[in-house]
């Protein structure tokens, strides 16, 4: 922070060139004997020279009040990031970083428009990156202990590798799990029926879909949250996790806009739930899920304890209200309409399959004609059951500083929001909802992915209107402190 000018670690040249070099290498293999090889070699050398020039002419200066990133190439750039505007500074390490002993320092400011991409991504030697991160974090949190955070950190709960695996397996949405299971079962049936013979491509394709839909996301979650630690120091929350790519994330609790307590169907059967938060300025630019997890899938008691200890600002005595009778009628009409639409859409295919399969002999002839009508009936029943469950669990409640929506027939979610973080309120009333005097609210918040829109169930319009009115009252009365909340 002395104002000294530094450069990124030179490994950044290789790191930036690697993806394109890999493509060029693939082209070299493809056009081995043709005359394009010299052109590809020139391209590769040109790319390395370009990235070298970018690296050598990019400097970073950590001043007393800001960080200045300056690039003196054809496309000149001077980016000034005042410490006062920085929302978070995080470190993560990928495979290339591990090979070169470096870390990637990501600086995010509080801007909604650029929330998807960090304002600066700088690669330094690992210890230097940690030093810079600690120094900036100290300025952000104004905490004397920030520099010793890692050594003195006492995690609030222990997450064993088994917890990580359970989180990976059961925090994937139920619909995704169902689709994945269908693909897996189909693939196993195909393999079984072709036992002793060469299995056709359908079994393999189905297995690939199972990997893409279910196993892939689960494994990715396990890798991401391996060795998970969470703790809070003063007003700052620290997260640390990762197996191949490691993540060290910290953010001020005032940057949390909403807290989501989530559980899938399988998680509820295990009496477990997890906590995610909507935080401004935590982008990594890697297209990853950016909503930080404050608690992996843990038993409900641990989850509640962590919620109280990590974000007590989002805990209040709730007095939830259920949807009114009008909402129930409206939802039943909607379920009936969807079921009718499903029946109409399935009528023609069902008749065709019925006529074509009726001529088949044996079990196939007896079963196949009824498969589609039965599936349609099950679909309609599922729609009505989901409606019934949704009526039972959907809640809304308003407190003094916070309000909450509970939604989800299958995968459940309780979202607690702060009035002062609400950017916009939309109340929507469809033609059927209007007949029963109910409407839905959509609350727009700033999130780590730009903006998040959170929807309520069906409640009376005046009741939902209270959200917007409370937001306005808090601004008018001065309860809303723009210093803490402006972005």
């Amino acid at each position: 922070m002395s104002g000294e000018t530094v450069r990124c670690h030179p490994s950044v040249i290789v790191e930036k060139s690697l993806p394109i070099l890999a493509v060029l290498a693939a082209l070299v293999v493809q056009f081995e004997k043709s005359g394009v090889l010299p052109a590809l070699a020139v391209l590769a050398i040109g790319l390395l020279l370009f990235n070298y020039r970018q690296w050598s002419r990019t400097t970073i200066r950590f001043n007393e009040t800001d960080v200045v990133v300056e690039r003196d190439t054809l496309f000149k750039l001077k980016k000034t990031l005042p410490y006062a505007k920085i929302a978070s500074v995080n470190v993560n390490r990928g495979i290339a970083n591990r090979l070169f002993g470096t870390s990637r320092l990501q600086i995010n400011i509080n801007s909604g428009s650029s929330a998807m991409v960090p304002e600066a991504v700088l690669t330094f030697k690992q210890d230097m990156a940690e030093e810079i991160r600690a120094a900036i974090a100290e300025r952000l949190s104004e905490s004397e202990a920030a520099q010793e955070e890692d050594a003195a950190a006492e995690p609030l709960a222990t997450f064993s590798p088994a917890d990580v695996v359970v989180h990976g397996l059961f925090s994937v949405s139920t619909y995704q799990t169902l689709f994945g299971s269908v693909f897996l079962v189909y693939s196993l049936l195909q393999l079984y029926s072709s036992a002793g013979l060469a299995a056709d491509g359908r079994a393999l394709a189905s297995l690939v879909f199972f990997f893409i839909v279910q196993l892939g996301p689960s494994v990715s979650l396990i890798f991401r949250y391996y060795n998970y630690k969470v703790y809070r120091r003063g007003k700052t929350i620290f997260l640390q996790h990762g197996l191949i790519r490691t993540y060290k994330t910290s953010f001020d609790v005032s940057r949390v806009n909403a807290v989501r307590v989530k559980s899938t169907l399988a998680a509820r059967l295990l009496h477990r739930s997890w906590i995610e938060v909507e935080v401004v300025g935590l982008s990594s630019g890697g297209g990853e899920s950016l909503r930080p997890v404050l608690c992996l899938l843990k038993d409900d008691a641990t989850q509640q304890r962590l919620l109280r200890e990590l974000v007590p600002e989002f805990v209040y005595d709730r007095s939830p209200e259920r949807q009114p009778a009008g909402a129930r009628r409206m939802l039943l009409i909607r379920a009936a309409t969807f079921s009718l639409a499903l029946a109409l859409a399935m009528a023609y295919p069902s008749l065709r399959v019925y006529h074509e399969a009726a001529d088949l002999a044996g079990t196939a002839g007896a079963v196949l004609p009824w498969v589609l009508p039965l599936a349609t009936l099950l679909g309609a029943l599922a729609i009505f059951y989901a409606t019934h469950v949704s009526c039972r669990i959907t809640e809304f409640d308003t407190g003094k500083d916070l309000f909450a929506f509970v939604n989800g027939a299958v995968d459940r979610e309780t979202v607690v929001m702060n009035y002062d973080k609400v950017q916009m309120v939309r109340i929507t009333r469809g033609p059927v909802a209007g007949l029963f005097g109910v409407a839905r609210a959509e609350v727009d918040l700033l999130s780590s992915t730009g903006g998040a829109s959170i929807s309520s169930g069906y409640f009376s319009e005046s009741r939902l209107g209270a959200i917007g009115e409370t937001v306005m009252e808090r601004i008018a009365s001065g309860e809303y402190d723009w210093r803490k909340n402006s972005v």
Binding site: Q423, R429, S453, A476, W482
Partner: protein, 182 residues
């Protein structure tokens, strides 16, 4: 000019709200006609080229497409006057309030405090009719006031910029150099 909501027939909740100019109906018809032409072209393409691809489903798909075309035609004929009749907006000292919708009625509330950016834009059809849209961007989402007259849109944008500017001036520390300018 966009007119304040008429006293006759308006509810007490409508007080202070403004309505759109009637030219918005024509603008909507033009926009909808263009969208409908695209849909019609899609239908013609399906009719001419999709028989081999769709096989036995060709006729059901064509009839379904025709049904969609008929429903859309009824909607685009009826929607603009309803949209015009329902559209209300109000810009107060502290908030922007918009109520609109044809089948689904929406009520949008944007606190002025949250506004980051105000933009006036107009497409070719709106330019010919002398209309413009005002897009209001907050950190978490976007709201729009559509089909305002150009002068009214500019006035709304100026008013919003003025309100935001006043808010920021009020927040400036008393001893900052710019706040000492008389």
């Amino acid at each position: 000019m966009s007119s304040p909501c008429p006293a006759n027939g308006s509810s007490t909740a409508d007080v202070g709200y403004r309505r759109l100019n009637k030219k918005c109906v024509l603008s909507m018809y033009i926009g909808h006609a263009i969208s409908y032409a695209v849909l019609l072209a899609g239908y013609l393409l399906v009719g001419l080229y999709a028989q081999g691809f769709l096989g036995p489903y060709y006729d059901p798909v064509r009839y379904a497409f025709l049904a969609v075309l008929a429903i859309v035609l009824v909607y685009i004929a009826a929607a603009p006057p309803v949209y015009y009749a329902r559209y209300r907006y109000r810009i107060a000292e502290d908030r922007i309030d918009v109520r609109y919708g044809v089948l689904v009625i929406r009520h949008i509330l944007v606190p002025i405090e949250r506004v980051h950016q105000v933009e006036v834009s107009r497409g070719p059809a709106n330019s010919v009719l002398g209309l413009a849209d005002v897009t209001i961007t907050t950190a978490g989402g976007v709201a729009a006031l559509n089909y305002l007259e150009i002068a009214e849109a500019e006035k709304v944008a100026d008013l919003l910029n003025d309100l935001i500017g006043r808010l920021l001036r009020d927040r400036r520390p008393a001893d900052s150099p710019s706040s000492r300018v008389s």
